[in-house]
Symmetry: C2
């Protein structure tokens, strides 16, 4: 009998920056681009790429508005993103405790 | 005042396969190459690359012996690997709970 294959982590979430972004959004629903940049330590370009990837997966919504004349980018988590994040954490727990629970 | 930058996850551990390998070794001290292959679902070549990376970081020891005429590769975790894994989990917890604990 073969031992069970360890479940796969969602590659969209399993990235330092994207995991951090989702963790922030899980708790605060939405956040400004500048705030996410400071918290993650990512550059503008790098953060943009990660946000686009999350948006394409339907995990976040990106809204561009203005605060006076200043452009404002607000990122919020979707229900799908919330579910994917919870599933990711469960899978992670399963991997990390993989042998102990057997 | 700037918000705190989220801590960085050890990139050597933050990989689906390497995380799975270390999780197994944390619980069972050592494991055969074939067993790790089945559990992770990785190919021979892919698993070898990941194990070499873990070995170069001093996180695992790879020992090649024979079981009769059959070559046997045994991988075991080092104290450094154990510490790095524990630190990784703590950092992960910090990221995932980053906003909630503030």
């Amino acid at each position: 009998m073969s031992p069970e294959t360890i479940p796969e982590l969602d590659p969209v979430i399993h990235s330092q920056v994207r995991l951090a972004v989702l963790s922030i959004l899980i708790a605060s629903e939405s956040a400004e681009f500048g705030y996410l940049k400071e918290r993650t330590g990512a550059t503008d370009g790098n953060l943009s790429v990660h946000l686009t990837k999350l948006e394409k997966s339907g995990f976040v919504l990106i809204r561009k508005t203005f605060s006076g004349k200043k452009p404002l980018t607000t990122v919020s988590i979707t229900e799908k993103g919330r579910e994917a994040f919870e599933k990711y954490l469960k899978t992670l727990e399963q991997i990390v405790r993989s042998e102990k629970s057997k």
